[in-house]
């Protein structure tokens, strides 16, 4: 990621210098409403989740007694955990990286003028506008061995000899989930990058052209560095959202027995839905939360998306 920060940008003066240092009181009117909304709405349920993870909660939902870290001991002793974590990381890394590469290409293309561009842009936004649950459902039924239109299409064009149960086997179901994950993540990522492309100063582009740089070199030395801010935020939000995504995996891998296709989120869901262990599910959610915080903290430290000098 450090290659995204060539000296060109550094020379441009931007952001607050030391002379702009305010006191906390001066900052409050600007950032106070955000804090109020966050503390007002998010703090209690988050604290409640952590609290629940240290309790024993009955099958019915009654809060029985405090058990300290016993639920966490159960979670860490769970033989399914390594597989679930491995699946989670594969899921996040593959979906986010493929999404980012495809979105960069797509944003670049949608930034070029051609007749009908607005219509293509609107088509790209549709998967974002549609509910993820419904998009996934269409894929799920489309890939069904018996009813599936996509499945019978693959047979009709000769790619398959007979319809195949994509969502019934671990590898193909995870693969299909990853495809859907990428499909629904691309619009948001593309738009963030497309917005970022508008901020690329035309003078820099022209200067590169005058220097005799080809389009590829211009892209890597001028455009990409300018996209750094938008890209950094897009990747960050994608990592978090993909990590926490439940509906895609729940639908695509939901009919597979056992836990071999589960990620942390679907595992939490199963513990809640089938084992009815609210306490264990809370402990798992806390672990899930800690893992995301850790990833984001490392990311923020390395990529510095909030840096402006």
């Amino acid at each position: 990621m450090s290659t995204l920060t060539p000296p060109v940008i550094r020379e441009r003066k931007r952001g607050g210098g030391p002379q702009n240092r305010d006191s906390l009181w001066a900052a409050l009117p600007w950032v106070g409403p955000v804090l109020l909304l966050i503390f007002g709405v998010v703090l209690f349920p988050a604290a409640y989740m952590i609290y629940s993870s240290t309790r024993r909660i009955s099958q019915a939902g009654t809060n029985v007694e405090g058990v300290g870290f016993e639920n966490f001991a159960t979670v860490f002793a769970d033989p399914n955990l390594p597989r679930v974590l491995l699946n989670t990381f594969v899921w996040v890394i593959v979906v986010v990286s493929v999404t980012v590469v495809l979105s960069l290409l797509l944003a670049n293309f949608l930034n070029k003028p051609f007749p009908g561009r607005t219509l293509v842009r609107m088509a790209v936004i549709v998967p974002w506008a549609a509910s993820v649950v419904m998009t996934t459902t269409v894929f799920y039924y489309g890939l069904d061995r018996d009813y599936g239109i996509m499945n019978s299409f693959l047979v009709d064009i000769g790619l398959l000899d007979s319809t195949y149960g994509f969502t019934k086997n671990v590898a193909t179901a995870l693969g299909a989930a990853i495809v859907v994950g990428i499909f629904v993540s691309i619009p948001f990522t593309t738009y963030t990058l497309l917005a970022g492309l508008q901020a690329v100063p035309s003078d820099a582009l022209e200067a590169a052209k005058m220097d005799g740089a080809g389009p590829v070199r211009t892209y890597f030395s001028v455009v990409l560095p300018q996209l750094r801010g938008a890209l950094a935020v897009a990747v960050l939000i994608n990592v978090i959202n993909v990590f926490n995504n439940l509906p895609i995996l729940r639908i695509m891998t939901g009919s597979i027995p056992g836990y071999s296709a589960d990620t942390l989120m679907t595992y939490i869901f199963k513990v809640l839905q089938f084992d009815r262990r609210l306490d264990i599910a809370s402990a798992l959610s806390v672990v899930n939360f800690a893992v995301v915080i850790l990833i984001v903290a490392v990311y923020v430290k390395v990529v510095k998306p909030m840096k402006e000098t």
Binding site: W30, I38, P45, P127, I149, S152, G196, Q198, A207
Partner: protein, 302 residues
């Protein structure tokens, strides 16, 4: 490669020309044709699942469950499904649509109102605890309502706003703040500071600088934030399911599940409503899409 001010002035008009014209003078016809072809393919790829959905919504119930499936229904397209779905026994759909609209619009407005000043301020000024503040904001994005429903339900009970639009507006706004703030922050940070300084020399206060000078320059960021917030409020499910208990108050995402019976599901309605639910977002997008191209360049020309 750094460009001096005069050079910049000289280059500007040239670029303007190229953007406006893509006819035979600017780009060769073959290249343009290629672009259109690629554009059509891209549009098809992204629309296919929704075309399947659309065709599904126009089938009869027996047709939709046919084995093996037919690409197009034999007994005609059932456009009547789009009329009958508004008065099904399962859910009061017109109310659900209104609920969803109100919740999403106000959640989006609230986010803009709260996040814009904060994004500008954190991009421009330094204050103690700024990094901690930005990190705190991103933490809310990591906590999805899905794992917090029990606490949210309890909190809204205590506040006595359970089963109200207000509860869902607050929840959607709070959980979508982070993206809006971060993306606008990155755009504000990209605006050269000299612009502010010039305005401040003219005696404008910080708020005025934000609204008159900076805001027009970050439209692409604002547009992205609006769509992001609106779309995720529009499709929010987990919190709405437990907090909105009256059928009339429930958003479309929850209303959809009412068509899923124990032994049979009215897929034609589920698909039809999903198609209808996409339309408002597309309208919103069509309304603000121009701003996406405007943005920085428009501001720089002025």
């Amino acid at each position: 490669m750094s460009v001096s001010a005069p050079a910049k002035a000289a280059i500007q008009p040239v670029r303007q020309n190229r953007v406006r014209k893509y006819g035979p003078d600017g780009i060769s016809g073959r290249r343009l044709g290629l672009r259109i072809a690629v554009g059509v393919i891209i549009a098809l790829v992204f629309l296919t699942p929704y075309l399947i959905m659309l065709v599904g919504s126009l089938k009869t119930r027996p047709e939709i469950l046919r084995v093996p499936p037919r690409y197009f229904p034999q007994d005609g397209l059932q456009w009547g499904n789009y009329a009958s779905m508004w008065s099904t026994p399962e859910t009061p759909l017109p109310f659900n649509l209104i609920s969803t609209l109100i919740i999403s619009i106000f959640a989006t407005l609230l986010v803009l109102l709260v996040a814009t000043p904060a994004a500008y301020y954190t991009a421009r000024f330094r204050f103690p605890g700024k990094i901690a503040f930005l990190f705190l904001v991103i933490v809310t994005q990591m906590l999805q309502p899905a794992v917090l429903t029990a606490g949210l339900f309890r909190q809204m009970l205590v506040l006595d706003i359970n089963d109200t639009w207000l509860a869902m507006i607050l929840i959607n706004a709070a959980f979508n703040l982070s993206f809006a703030l971060w993306i606008m922050h990155s755009f504000f940070a990209g605006i050269p500071k000299e612009i502010d300084e010039a305005a401040q020399l003219d005696g404008a206060g910080r708020l005025k600088v934000l609204f008159t000078v900076n805001l027009p320059l970050v439209w692409p960021g604002i547009v992205t934030a609006i769509i992001f917030t609106f779309v995720s409020s529009w499709n929010e499910f987990a919190a709405s399911l437990v907090i909105m208990s009256t059928a009339e108050n429930q958003p479309l995402s929850v209303a959809l599940t009412k068509f899923i019976g124990q032994y049979a599901t009215s897929w034609q309605y589920v698909f039809g409503i999903s198609i209808v639910a996409i339309i408002p977002v597309i309208i919103l997008f069509a309304l603000i899409e121009k701003r996406l191209i405007g943005g920085l360049t428009a501001g720089a020309v002025k």
